[in-house]
């Protein structure tokens, strides 16, 4: 089956090795006989109709250059999400899918409003390895291992569901004990590293959501031999436990 992916503003939001996430999605789809068709959505392009949208992270300068345009695509992205398209937003992209981002100088960057959250730049960056516990499918507890590096403190609104519970690391705001956000088939997170190579179960979950959108019925993928991925996951998880950031009480 063909899975169409819209990669939003890769020229601006491509720090933290976002192409690693795309490479993992493409390979894992291909190994199951599916074809990932990745289209860059650049400045001035319409959002289009895709099964999966990807938004990466950017440095402050690039993020500020593209935020207004991304926010203007808000209604189209909300419509895509309501239609069952899957989404993965990492770091800066995660912040911009919220309601907005207030930078260090107090300027407010607009957001897409897909996630009920708001982000405010803090003084100290939260940097380190992270380990989360998630339950995207009821009864299936899994862990995510990644690296976080963000000045933003993200506050979830009352309607927001976090992606996971922080086992080790800072998480959304360094205090709440939660990380990321999930709204249906859309996932937002600070975790890079990149996220998907060492967390292949999440790559497969996203592919299943995208395939379900594409085919109109629920899809399950066959497991793959993931020994290297598990080794990398175990080491990254151990790093988070031994040297990840620690949460402070406010």
């Amino acid at each position: 089956m063909r899975i169409s992916v819209g990669h939003l503003y890769p020229d601006y939001l491509n720090i933290y090795a976002d192409r690693g996430n795309i490479a993992v999605l493409a390979s894992r789809a291909a190994w199951r006989g599916h074809e990932l068709d990745v289209r860059a959505i650049g400045s001035g392009d319409p959002v289009g109709d895709h099964d999966l949208y990807y938004v990466g992270g950017g440095q402050d300068r690039e993020q500020a250059l593209i935020a207004v345009e991304l926010a203007a695509q808000g209604p189209a992205l909300l419509e895509a999400a309501a239609g069952g398209a899957a989404m993965l937003a990492v770091c800066g992209g995660y912040q911009l899918l919220g309601r907005g981002y207030r930078d260090r100088l107090g300027a407010e960057l607009p957001g897409v409003g897909l996630f009920d959250l708001h982000t405010v730049a803090g003084e100290r960056r939260m940097i380190g390895d992270v380990l989360l516990e998630c339950e995207l499918t009821p009864g299936e507890r899994r862990t995510l291992a990644g690296f976080e590096n963000h000045a933003g403190r993200t506050m979830l609104g009352p309607a927001a569901e976090p992606l996971g519970r922080v086992v080790a690391g800072f998480g959304n705001d360094g205090a709440s004990g939660y990380e990321g956000c999930r709204a249906g088939r859309a996932i937002g997170t600070y975790l890079h590293g990149p996220l998907l190579p060492r967390n292949p179960w999440l790559a497969d979950w996203l592919l299943e959501q995208a395939l379900s959108h594409s085919s109109g019925e629920p899809q399950r993928l066959e497991p793959l031999p993931d020994e290297l991925e598990q080794q990398a996951h175990a080491i990254a998880g151990a790093r988070a436990r031994s040297r990840g950031g620690s949460r402070s009480r406010r």
Binding site: I15, R19, G193, P197, L228, Q231, A232
Partner: protein, 454 residues
């Protein structure tokens, strides 16, 4: 009196550290002195009769400084932090050991530049490039650029600035500084067809429009112009023209100045080393060297340690190229491929502070080009599995990947797979490179870095 005591204390600590076998003791005395009295660092620097030259860059600062030493050392006694200890403490250690030196030649970490420049008050400041590097440690590029702007603002008005015009952020530092010398490359035959994936400063500093490149040489370094507002690379005072790259053997170029042109021969491969050479040349010309001094010095020069070393091991050769960030690693890969695609490579990824704890940068390196011709990858280092994944998802068959985290065993395995008389390519991150040299030095194959003549 207090200063003399502090200096004696700090020097003693360095000798003790070496006697105890704990590495070169290259930063311990300076750490002590810097902790005792920051002002002492400034005092020591002010004692150098010809002052100091300071060199910084994300990539190439160690090599550029070592090249400048080779050019200057026949006529000047230098205080040079040759072991690459380039924070305030390393600079302090170098100055402590600088008895009889006339000129300080200091390689400085890009994040430590503002503080070192304030203490040392350089008479020449040479700035090479800014690439994304270890975001967990250095923060974002823009913040580093702001620190560099502050360092340049604080410079003595008589100090000379030498900058790489091919980097938009760095070239712009020459604005409003009369007498600044700008250098760059000028040979579009060596331009890349497109900006690399990892390119950083691709949007106009003035207006945010993407630059147009007449030629992009290394990462975002090149001949750029903004199609909207016209901000462009400044005219070059010193340029490398008619560049010839000779595989892994070396390179040559015409060093072109207002006075004329001199053919430079380098025993180092790769376009990035042409950048290092033209930086060192510009710096030394500013310090009064003649083009002929530059030519002779660079012809003698051999790689700075771990940067491009060929080591004989039992009838085979080990070629070591340090990798530490996407732009630098891309050039290392391009250089290796210049000698023909290797059948075996050992790539070693550590994640200590000096390597960057965040290993995501390996995904921004174009390893696909290396993977394409590779028979076996020996993935090594503390994050060997992560590196193996980089190649697996970069298109290398999982059966061609061997994960051997322990460095010494990985080296053995790589050598085993290398045919007699052949060459084994080893690409280590910084601390993996130090361990590798330790292994080779224990076998008597290389000298420890603190004993190596500069």
């Amino acid at each position: 009196m207090r200063l003399r005591l502090e200096i004696a204390l700090a020097r003693g600590a360095g000798r003790l550290s070496r006697l105890a076998g704990r590495g070169g003791g290259t930063t311990l005395p300076g750490k002590l002195l810097a902790a005792l009295d920051r002002g002492a660092v400034a005092t020591l620097a002010s004692r150098l009769p010809l002052g100091s030259a300071v060199i910084s860059a994300t990539n190439g600062k160690t090599t550029t400084a070592a090249m400048a030493v080779e050019i200057l050392s026949p006529r000047l006694e230098l205080a040079h932090n040759r072991s690459g200890a380039n924070l305030v403490s390393g600079v302090a250690s170098t100055l402590l050991e600088a008895d009889g030196a006339e000129l300080g030649l200091l390689e400085v970490d890009e994040a430590a530049l503002t503080e070192v420049a304030r203490l040392v008050k350089p008479r020449v400041l040479c700035l090479g490039n800014l690439f994304r590097d270890q975001l967990d440690r250095y923060g974002e590029l823009e913040q580093l650029a702001e620190r560099w702007r502050a360092a340049v603002r604080d410079l003595d008005p008589k100090a000379r600035l030498v900058v790489n015009a091919d980097d938009p952020q760095v070239g712009d530092l020459a604005q409003g500084r009369p007498g600044a010398l700008v250098y760059g490359l000028d040979d579009a035959r060596h331009a890349r067809p497109a900006l690399q994936h990892a390119a950083d400063s691709k949007y106009c500093l003035r207006c945010g429009t993407p630059y147009r490149y007449a030629a992009a040489y290394v990462g975002h370094l090149g001949d750029y112009a903004c199609p909207a507002c016209g901000h462009a690379r400044p005219p070059l005072d010193v340029a490398a023209r008619e560049i010839e790259l000779d595989g892994l053997r070396g390179s040559s170029f015409a060093l072109s100045t207002a006075e004329g042109s001199t053919r430079i021969e380098l025993r180092l491969p790769g376009l990035y080393n042409v950048y290092n050479a033209v930086a060192a040349a510009s710096l030394c010309l500013t310090l009064g060297s003649t083009p002929d001094d530059v030519r002779r010095g660079l012809a003698r020069f051999q790689a700075a340690f771990g940067r491009f070393e060929r080591i004989e091991v039992g009838g085979k050769r080990v070629l070591v190229l340090l990798i530490k960030n996407p732009a630098g690693a891309n050039e290392a890969v391009r250089t290796v491929l210049g000698g023909g695609p290797p059948a075996v490579a050992v790539v070693a990824l550590n994640d200590r502070i000096a390597d960057g704890r965040d290993v995501s940068w390996i995904w921004d390196v174009d390893f696909e080009q290396l993977a394409a011709g590779l028979g076996t990858l020996v993935a090594s280092g503390e994050r060997a599995a992560e590196l193996a994944l980089r190649f697996k998802y970069g298109g290398l068959d999982a059966r061609a990947i061997e994960v051997v985290p322990e460095l010494e065993r990985a080296l053995e395995r790589g050598l085993e797979l290398t045919p007699a008389g052949g060459e084994l390519v080893v690409l280590p991150t910084y601390t993996a490179m130090l361990s590798l040299r330790q292994i080779l030095s224990d076998r008597g194959l290389v000298r420890p870095y603190w004993e190596r003549a500069a």
